[in-house]
């Protein structure tokens, strides 16, 4: 556990180093790019100093990490607002979107995968296989636009843009449906395909044959004994998928005009607002790495085999 957290912390330091050194790669300097060719040297120097870009890289790294550790991610060069406040404000919308997409993937992906594995080769299996591969191949920005076109513009079933009224949770849920479907549909396909193959493997295990020989019904065998171990690889993929989901959230937020972490980073890139880009990307990296650590640790809780392995290693 400590080793995993330490590795994740080192990766965060490395990511910060990469983010900070990126700004040194730019031809000219970020302030010149930001202010334009007609800016006075004094204005450029002042903005560079405001963004902390006049300091050597190692000092910037230490300063950035020390400030970030204290919750200070710098200030937006446009509005002067603390980046940490902007990130915290945008996080709930992105969290609602990501959690809804993951729930969708689990709620639809697992039953579809299980149905497919129970009757391999049948029409349902072939249909699910066809749908799953279609879902997997649909980039989230294409699904977002198609869903927007059909369900918001043509059928007028869902709101076109925005994240809903603040404080009105039902309205927010109503607004998250299309973006969550656009983001989660790929993962429905992934989960269904992965669960199908791992469930087929589990259903061929000797202990399942023994359960059947004892006369247990197929439903009990499937739901009580086969589904849980088959879900473990799916969990790993979902954990790794959080990073992709956060990336995909950029598209869903831009297309549906939702405020969130993705649209915050995208807006900052358009205006070359480096402190916001750095702060936003750093938070995404931390969330991504933390999710991976949590997924790794959840194996111990879900899979007794891993728990036993760890215990025997501890004794040795």
């Amino acid at each position: 556990m400590i080793f995993k957290l330490l590795t994740a912390a080192l990766a965060v330091v490395g990511a910060v180093l990469l983010l900070l050194s990126l700004t040194t790669l730019i031809p000219g300097d970020p302030a010149t790019v930001l202010l334009g060719p007609r800016a006075t040297p004094e204005a450029v120097a002042a903005l560079n100093s405001q963004m902390g870009l006049d300091l050597p890289l190692p000092i910037r790294l230490v300063r950035f990490l020390a400030h970030a550790f204290a919750g200070d991610l710098g200030r937006d060069v446009m509005s002067g607002r603390p980046v940490a406040d902007m990130v915290i404000e945008s996080l709930p919308n992105t969290a609602l979107l990501a959690v809804s997409a993951i729930l969708l993937a689990i709620l639809f992906g697992i039953p579809l995968g299980a149905l497919s594995a129970v009757r391999p080769g049948r029409i349902a299996d072939q249909l699910i296989a066809f749908l799953s591969v279609g879902f997997v191949s649909a980039p989230s920005f294409v699904s977002s636009i198609f869903l927007l076109l059909v369900f918001a513009l043509w059928l007028d079933w869902f709101p076109v843009l925005g994240a809903g009224e603040r404080g009105d949770f039902l309205d927010q849920l109503w607004h998250v449906v299309l973006p969550a479907v656009a983001l989660g549909i790929t993962w429905v396909g992934y989960v269904a395909r992965l669960l199908r193959s791992s469930l087929l493997e589990v259903l061929n295990e000797p202990y399942i044959r023994t359960m059947r020989a004892y006369g247990l019904s197929e439903a009990v065998v499937l739901l009580k004994y086969a589904l849980k171990p088959a879900c473990i690889p799916t969990l790993a993929v979902l954990g790794m998928g959080v990073g992709e989901l956060l990336g995909g959230a950029v598209f869903a937020e831009v297309i549906f005009n939702r405020p969130g972490l993705g649209s915050l980073i995208y807006g900052a890139i358009e205006t070359r607002n480096y402190p916001v880009v750095q702060g936003g990307v750093l938070v995404v990296v931390i969330l991504y790495l933390l999710t991976n650590v949590v997924v790794d640790l959840s194996y111990v809780w879900i899979d007794p085999r891993v728990r036993l392995q760890m215990q025997s290693r501890g004794r040795a």
Partner: protein, 280 residues
């Protein structure tokens, strides 16, 4: 490698056959784009803006009156071209770094692995966005930054395969017989690691196509007047209520390409990976 046998294996399923046909068709369109296009993809005709599909313009026209069918055809060239170059660059650099890490002393190995870990700690699209914030948009930069994001994958596989090879008996036998390290590398290591890397490359092509289109859609990738599917989709999004053809045609082209490459990649993996073959 027996290419005929491989093709037979790949086309033994319907999904694999679809993958081969669609990818083959896309490659032909990309190479011979001028033969398939019916108009100059960049010719502006303001009087014909946002036209629906017709005999003159199969997919209609965009906001500047350019023929959408011809732009989608030329977009194939960009999508496939970027994917091929990105995969080639990241594959070559990845193999070089991965094999060097496996052969190098421990500190150098650790350094290379740490660099891979740092790059992997970013979600790929977020890394591409962070890089584009610095490098700026454009074809060369898009190729460069997507390649950087994919190098660790190839590097890790190349390193792991080389390390496994170094511990094998035939490797030891070659060394005892006095073979030079470069000879072992060229004649034994590379041919043995190329299979899994080839599979990885084919599985990554649709991902590269999606990232390039995504960046272009966000306006930070390939810039107009070059016709990229992501750029066309962006125009389609802007004029979605007036002319859905823009978004529908470019979006479908993108989906066919990702679907075709995904199915081909999976069929290739099943044909090449003997472990999976046994499992089937």
């Amino acid at each position: 490698m027996d290419w005929r046998k491989l093709l037979r294996e790949i086309t033994s399923t319907r999904a694999g056959t679809f993958g081969v046909i669609s990818v083959g068709l896309l490659l032909v369109i990309a190479v011979f784009a001028p033969l398939f296009a019916i108009h100059d993809p960049n010719a502006i005709a303001p009087m014909d803006r946002l036209q629906p599909p017709s005999a003159m313009h199969f997919f209609g026209t965009d906001q500047l009156g350019r023929d959408l069918y011809s732009r989608v055809i030329y977009g194939t060239r960009i999508a496939i071209g970027v994917a091929v170059v990105v995969i080639s660059v990241s594959l070559i650099v990845g193999i070089l770094l991965g094999v060097s890490a496996a052969y190098a002393p421990r500190p150098v190995d650790q350094l290379i692995v740490s660099a891979f870990d740092i790059i992997n700690s970013f979600p790929r699209l977020i890394l591409a966005l962070a890089l584009v914030a610095v490098l700026g948009p454009g074809l060369t930069n898009v190729i460069l930054l997507i390649s950087i994001a994919f190098i660790p994958q190839f590097g890790r596989v190349a390193r792991a395969q080389t390390l496994a090879m170094r511990n094998s008996l035939f490797f030891e036998a070659e060394a005892v017989l006095g073979a030079e390290p470069w000879r072992i590398l060229l004649h034994h290591v590379l041919p043995n690691i190329i299979g899994p890397i080839f599979v990885l490359a084919s599985m990554n092509i649709p991902v590269v196509i999606t990232i390039e289109a995504g960046l272009s859609f966000l306006g930070v990738g390939i810039r107009p007047p070059l016709a990229s599917w992501g750029g066309l989709l962006h125009d389609g999004y802007t004029y979605l209520d007036q002319s859905p053809w823009l978004a529908l045609t470019s979006g479908l082209a993108l989906m066919v390409a990702t679907l075709g490459f995904t199915l081909l990649g999976e069929a290739l993996r099943d044909a090449i990976d003997p472990k999976l073959q046994q499992a089937r």
